[in-house]
């Protein structure tokens, strides 16, 4: 099977498509023949990307139940869903703002779970569909300042395991990817809030160096494809060896 046939006739929804990882995943899957539906909150970026890839698009805020329902209504049945939307507030718990904590949990944990709930209720997931949620190495390792983010991603992974069991009888699969430090806008934004020395020390902890969005896109492609048909409920680290130390 050539790369362009891998997802022939497969409909895949990518949520958070305008972020660094979502965008890279969208381009990768398009090259492998997928028909894409893209969603994101940045309307201008979303329009540009959907035009580039010839994809359908809908700009929605997934933490808003009405907008989420609108998305679930508007799309056809899906063979795959990727949730790549995410926010990463960086603050010690002493100075963690209510709004930042709530937004973090809503965008990173609650949104993906409720989106799948809505898609299931509206019967928009085909038998054998594959769901991929973007987690983080932060879910399994402590880091000062990341309590909210780590909790949101650990919760996401725990939900994925439960959902995987619920959907297994339908042949549907649910998996997470836990990337390490990847060069994206979100990582750059987080880096602005830590010292250059702390960032340099963190980057040294990656045996294979800093990752690129394409590394995560390749993993998402694998988990969405038939090649991973016997893989469900797992979190795949894509972290250059960070988590094995």
């Amino acid at each position: 099977m050539s790369g362009s046939d891998k997802f022939k006739n497969k409909q895949i929804l990518i949520v958070g498509a305008t972020g660094g990882l979502g965008c890279s995943i969208a381009r990768h899957l398009k090259c492998e023949g997928a028909s894409l539906v893209l969603s994101g909150r940045n309307e201008a970026k979303l329009n540009a990307l959907s035009q580039e890839l010839g994809a359908e698009s809908l700009s929605v805020d997934l933490s808003d139940s009405a907008e989420r329902a609108q998305l679930a209504d508007a799309i056809g049945t899906l063979d795959g869903v990727v949730c790549a939307a995410g926010v990463a507030p960086v603050a010690p718990v002493r100075y963690l703002k209510d709004a930042d904590l709530e937004a973090c949990l809503n965008v990173n944990t609650v949104g993906p779970l409720l989106l799948i709930r809505d898609l299931l209720r509206k019967k928009k997931l085909n038998p054998g569909a594959s769901i991929v949620w973007l987690s983080s190495v932060a879910s399994a390792r402590g880091a000062a300042g990341y309590a909210a983010y780590a909790a949101s991603k650990a919760g996401l992974e725990a939900s994925a395991r439960c959902l995987a069991l619920e959907l297994a009888p339908k042949g549907m699969r649910v998996n997470c990817i836990a990337p390490g430090m990847i060069e994206t806008e979100m990582a750059a934004s987080a880096a602005e809030r830590i010292s250059g020395e702390a960032l340099a020390a963190h980057l040294k902890a990656y045996p294979l160096g800093v990752g690129q969005p394409a590394d995560v896109a390749a993993a998402a492609s694998f988990l969405l494809s038939e090649a991973s048909r016997w893989v469900t409920g797992v979190t795949l680290p894509v972290d250059g060896g960070f988590s094995i130390q």
Partner: protein, 76 residues
């Protein structure tokens, strides 16, 4: 927003600083307690208390607490 209050907030944010021990002229980057966690904590404190999003570079470029306060008050 006052410089005195800002110094108090700074003292509270950074661990192991005796309340009342710092002044406007304190060169905070030379403090024994100044480390990567202190940088992260001061940025978060300024965000929470002053609704200003400082960058780590700003903390690196200012010398004294007075200079840092000027950055914070000028951004709010």
């Amino acid at each position: 927003m006052s410089l005195e209050k800002f110094i108090e907030d700074f003292e509270e944010a950074v661990e192991d600083i005796e309340p009342g021990s710092l002044t406007a002229a304190t060169k905070y980057r030379g403090l024994e307690a100044w480390d990567s966690l202190a940088v992260l904590t001061v940025i978060a404190m300024v965000d929470a208390e002053y609704d200003v999003r400082l960058k780590a570079d700003t903390l690196k470029n200012c010398e004294t607490l007075e200079a840092l306060f000027a950055q914070v008050s000028g951004s709010s």
